[in-house]
């Protein structure tokens, strides 16, 4: 209806576009400028104070080290990224299934949920050595630690998401003689998506922590191993370069989840 009444106004359209550009510029330029300013302060203070590079290397030196060791960093970033994706995927599968079980079976909910919460209260990093005892020093224990740390947000978001469906819509489905499977696939699942994606974003950041903890303990390869190993030799610039690469890996993986969310929510949003 409103479209029929629309009066074309090129000036208003231009104004809107200009406002959007100004907003976008502000949102991208300001954080970049802030970061550059902080790095400059860091660089200048290190030089002025004459700090030893083992204590705090200047950003320039970190970048140089990063470039010089690019092969080492990439070779070790790959297993970290792959195992993070693995730990995340396992979390989504197991956390999702557990969430569905808890939502659909009152017996499971009453008997399991308090225990799941209790389990969650264990400081997980402290338990990590146990996984090494049970699963050895290979990728299996790193995936297990990652899963252990990252699955809980998926459980919680699945349970709250599956309960988020509009009660009136559920009654409509009843009146249409919809089966439980239909209600799950066509109503509860779409309604749970915003919750699931929130859980997945948190889970992805936890999965990477799990893998790094695993790499600290198993000491074979990966960015966590590089950080620990270089740290023990006071090669602080490499530690920082590895941290930077780790940031990039985390950002890309988180970005992938956010991108998937955008695509899916275009179909299943309002």
């Amino acid at each position: 209806m409103s479209q029929d009444l629309l009066i074309a106004d090129p000036k208003a359209v231009r104004d809107d576009r200009a406002r959007d550009v100004r907003k976008l510029t502000r949102q991208t330029v300001l954080p970049v400028l802030t970061a550059v300013a902080l790095l400059a302060v860091w660089q200048v203070s290190v030089e002025l104070a004459g700090l030893h590079p083992a204590v705090l290397p200047a950003p320039g030196a970190v970048l140089e080290t990063m470039w010089a060791n690019r092969e080492l960093l990439v070779v070790n970033a790959i297993p970290t990224a792959v195992e993070t994706i693995g730990g995340f995927a396992l979390s989504v599968v197991f956390g999702g299934l557990l969430g569905i079980l808890l939502s659909y079976s009152t017996l499971a909910r009453d008997s399991l949920y308090p225990n799941v919460i209790l389990f969650q209260l264990i400081p997980k990093v402290a338990v990590a050595p146990l996984f090494m005892l049970w699963l050895g020093i290979g990728w299996e224990s790193r995936l297990a630690i990652s899963l252990f740390i990252a699955f809980f947000p998926i459980v919680i978001s699945t349970v709250s998401g599956l309960n988020a469906a509009d009660a009136a819509i559920l009654r409509l489905c009843d009146s249409l003689t919809a089966t439980r499977t239909q209600v799950f696939l066509k109503i509860r699942l779409p309604y749970s998506l915003p919750f699931l994606f929130n859980g997945m974003k948190i889970s992805m950041t936890l999965a990477i922590i799990g893998v790094i903890v695993g790499e600290f303990i198993t000491s074979q390869r990966g960015l966590g191993y590089i950080i620990l190993f270089a740290g023990s030799r006071f090669e602080t610039a490499i530690v920082m370069a590895a941290l930077l690469v780790l940031c990039i890996v985390g950002l890309v993986l988180y970005g992938l989840v956010a991108l998937t969310e955008q695509i899916i929510m275009k179909r299943f949003g309002e």
């Binding site: 009136a168 249409l176 003689t177 949003g269």
Partner: protein
């Protein structure tokens, strides 16, 4: 009795001594008792009463969404205990799926029934055309006004050609002008498709305008306190609301409601 109900004397919907009580802490509350109504095939009947008289509960029992506590409900000769596919329900809220377009929402029952979409696509579009929102068929609910959403809900309830149409105060959340419009649209559609229709409302004028027959619920627990035939010829337009007969019937209904309401408040 109107012409259409006189054609078929056979009762299509039969409520026999229907009662409803709810378990509450410390006992039970009886909300409806001894409701007996017979509705002829293709009759349009309104259930009128003040808020909380149990009229929506009665409709939910007719839809098979609430179990009856006493008595029985028969539709087309079969006892009604669980929802059935030959019944269409329009709820107070449009209850549209936010991620589906108007057209997809209209086709939702077809999706649930697992019937071929292709067969019903044209019917869905024709229904949307009939309620006057054909141009908006690809829009999602967020982009529709309240009145347009309820129009989509009407189409959805009719898509599978139900034999019985149940409406639970479908227009009570709308403004008066939109409400009048939708009353006219509803009558227009009903006169074409002619299902048996139950319409729950607390608006006296709406009930009289739409119905062949108006049943007033009142008292505590709710019972039938008045059952009147509405004699106006069809098709009807909003102008009948100005006639003397129309206002006389409205007055009669209003007094019946007020009398029983006063008694209930006094209790």
């Amino acid at each position: 009795m109107s012409a259409c109900s006189a054609q078929s004397g056979q009762a299509f919907v039969r409520l026999s001594k229907v009662g409803k009580s709810f378990r509450v802490e410390g006992g039970t509350i009886e909300v409806l008792c001894n409701i007996s109504i017979e509705v002829a095939d293709r009759q349009f009947i309104s259930i009128l009463g003040p808020s909380g008289c149990g009229k929506s509960t009665l409709l939910m029992m007719l839809a098979g969404l609430e179990p009856v506590s006493a008595g029985s409900i028969e539709i087309g000769g079969q006892s009604m205990r669980t929802p059935r596919r030959d019944v269409g329900v329009i709820f107070q809220d449009p209850t549209l799926l936010p991620w589906k377009s108007a057209l997809e929402n209209v086709l939702f029952p077809i999706e649930i029934f697992g019937l071929p979409f292709a067969k019903y696509q044209a019917r869905a579009e024709a229904l949307l055309e009939l309620v006057g929102i054909s141009d908006a068929r690809h829009r999602r609910p967020r982009q529709l006004s309240g009145g347009m959403r309820q129009r989509v809900a009407i189409c959805r309830a009719l898509i599978h050609e139900p034999k019985l149409l149940l409406m639970d105060e479908p227009f009570s959340a709308l403004d008066a002008i939109t409400r009048d419009e939708l009353n006219v649209t509803l009558l227009d559609i009903w006169e074409r498709h002619h299902q048996t229709a139950f319409f729950v409302t607390h608006s006296i004028r709406e009930a009289v305008f739409l119905s062949d027959r108006v049943v007033v619920l009142g008292g505590w627990p709710g019972q039938v306190v008045l059952d009147v035939a509405i004699p106006f010829a069809r098709p009807r337009d909003l102008n009948i609301g100005e006639s003397v007969d129309f206002n006389r019937i409205c007055g009669e209904l209003r007094r019946a409601i007020a009398e029983n309401h006063a008694r209930r408040v006094a209790d």
